[in-house]
């Protein structure tokens, strides 16, 4: 993988921010977009923008081909068995909400259990809280290990015959932990529960095979994997999706409409009410081509190397606490004794280094870590060791600046 060649595909990286070359270390929030994706979206709008699934005219069928072609690319990318199992939605949040509202309302009742973990993103907590409140089910948490990992044993102790849904993130957006979702899926299935996986932080960065994992539902977002915002995917096993009711009703998702009753289209369209996210899907298809061309294995190896490099540098710094396990994806969350994460992020930004500061949409995990906020550097295929060097140098600047104040 030629990193300079990769970087040349991302126009946004070629700029100065606050007088310094941009060092973008916030890809876990959203990734940058390569020109292949930007041009695919532009090409759609310039040449064949049209509504899908209805036009007899030429542009209509070109747009349909673009939209459905992207679905096939997604199917192949995550190795689903059929295009009927790939539903285009706004993003991971919408996808998990769909499962909770549709499958959850129909299959979870009083006395049942929903099992999640304390490291989840808010989007994989609140839909289940709401479902538990509405149905009288109990929301249970698999306790975390001290290093911020999930043990299969604790999962086995938490999931019972009363558990109806287990939902766990594949990779933590804070700790970088790679969770044993395949093993947890087996435990869920042994207990008659369905397994939901939040793949927002895994699909962009590593090869994912949904059939190998065995999960019943798997959700991810396009914008974290070089695609535009506003497009995401829910994968679901066909036999479950078939039985589920849509949660949005209107155009595009209907078969026959009468005055008092209507029927739905086949999968996957019955879940895609309204004019779909056509340009977004086209962009997602282009992003998949781009990522596959470089190779997901190469991308994963590159990011892991950067994470190790960053961890090595940070461990020698006095007063810096890094959260999470040694073995991790390209996410490094930390705090400095001398500087609050917001102040740190402002100082880093003044030197062109973009990091995230705050609770990272994971307030229960912040509580578990016993902090109110942290700073996070996250890596993607376009980051370099030089980026990490600039980041750690800037961190030193911030420590000295605030250290002087408190000295």
């Amino acid at each position: 993988m030629d990193i300079q060649e990769v970087r040349r595909q991302f126009p946004i990286l070629d700029q100065e921010v606050n007088g310094h070359p941009l060092v973008y270390l916030d890809s876990a929030a959203t990734s940058q977009k390569p020109r292949q994706v930007i041009e695919a979206v532009e090409d759609y709008y310039k040449r064949y923008n049209s509504n899908v699934h209805r036009g007899v005219h030429t542009l209509g069928s070109m747009a349909t081909d673009g939209y459905e072609g992207a679905r096939e690319k997604v199917r192949r990318f995550i190795h689903a068995s059929s295009m009927e199992e790939i539903i285009f939605l706004r993003g991971t949040t919408t996808a998990i909400n769909l499962v909770a509202s549709s499958y959850g309302r129909a299959n979870v009742g009083e006395g049942d259990e929903i099992v999640i973990t304390p490291m989840e993103h808010h989007s994989n907590i609140i839909p289940w809280q709401q479902l538990a409140k509405a149905t009288g089910a109990e929301l249970k948490y698999i306790p975390l290990e001290e290093d911020g990992t999930i043990s299969v044993e604790k999962a086995r102790e938490t999931i019972t015959a009363n558990t109806k849904i287990v939902s766990v993130m594949h990779v933590s957006n804070v700790l970088g932990t790679i969770n044993p979702v395949k093993e947890i899926t087996s435990i869920a299935h042994e207990n008659g529960a369905v397994m939901v996986v939040d793949g927002a932080q895994s699909v962009p960065h590593m090869k994912v095979d949904v059939q190998d994992i065995g999960a019943d539902f798997f959700a991810f977002s396009g914008h974290k994997m070089c695609a535009p915002t506003g497009i995401g995917v829910l994968y679901g096993k066909k036999k479950l999706l078939k039985e589920m009711e849509p949660v949005e009703f209107g155009g595009e998702m209907i078969d026959f409409v009468g005055l008092y009753d209507s029927t739905w289209k086949e999968l996957p369209w019955k879940f895609e009410g309204g004019t779909p996210i056509i340009a977004g899907a086209v962009g997602l298809g282009a992003a998949i081509d781009f990522l596959e061309d470089i190779g997901l294995d190469n991308i994963e190896a590159h990011e892991r190397k950067l994470a190790r490099y960053a961890l090595d540098q940070l461990k020698d710094k006095d007063g810096v606490t890094v959260y999470g396990p040694q073995d991790r994806a390209g996410i490094v969350t930390f705090n400095s004794d001398d500087v609050h994460p917001h102040d740190l992020a402002t100082v880093l930004d003044s030197e062109g280094v973009a990091v995230r500061a705050g609770h990272h949409c994971a307030q229960p995990l912040m509580k578990w870590l016993d902090v109110t906020a942290t700073a996070r550097a996250s890596f993607y295929l376009y980051n370099t060791e030089e980026d990490v060097d600039k980041f750690t140098a800037s961190l030193q600047t911030a420590k000295e600046y605030f250290g002087d104040v408190f000295g």
Binding site: H342, S350, M366, T372, T397, V405
Partner: protein
């Protein structure tokens, strides 16, 4: 230290002094107006307690967690409004908001004191909410009192 000047306008010495030695940090005894407020996007939180007597803010103290800007602003705010009639405190809060938005302000008899040190925050849009958190808490407390 050779950080650029823009950063120095944000982190002025008086701000750092309030951050390091916050004034009015703690709790007010007896019956008080209590407001808990947080900034949901970043996790900063403040608990403000005020005592209003004869239409004046007789006492104002805070506890909380946050960055240098939110905590120094809370410290300066409690200092500035203590002893002020409620109307003047609300007027000062409006002035402070205008200052954060980069508008021309006319203090018209109100002593802004150390607060003017926070003027630099306006150049850092992402940090304005840090600076206004304590003021929003004060406004909410006084609104509820009305």
């Amino acid at each position: 230290m050779s950080l650029d000047n823009k950063l120095d306008t944000l982190y002025r010495q008086v701000i750092m002094d309030h951050y390091k030695n916050p004034r009015n940090r703690g709790e007010v005894d007896g019956e008080t107006l209590k407001v808990d407020m947080n900034n949901p996007t970043c996790g900063d939180r403040i608990q403000l307690q005020m005592k209003v007597e004869d239409g004046k803010i007789a006492e104002a103290k805070f506890n909380g967690e946050g960055c240098s800007i939110s905590l120094s602003s809370a410290s300066m705010m409690t200092q500035a409004v203590k002893g002020l009639p409620v109307e003047d405190a609300l007027r000062m809060s409006a002035l402070f908001s205008d200052m954060m938005l980069g508008k021309e302000i006319d203090p018209a008899g109100l002593d802004l004191g150390d607060l003017e040190a926070l003027q630099g925050v306006q150049k850092f849009p992402a940090r304005i909410k840090c600076a206004t958190l304590a003021w929003k808490a004060m406004e909410q407390g006084l609104e509820e009192e009305k």
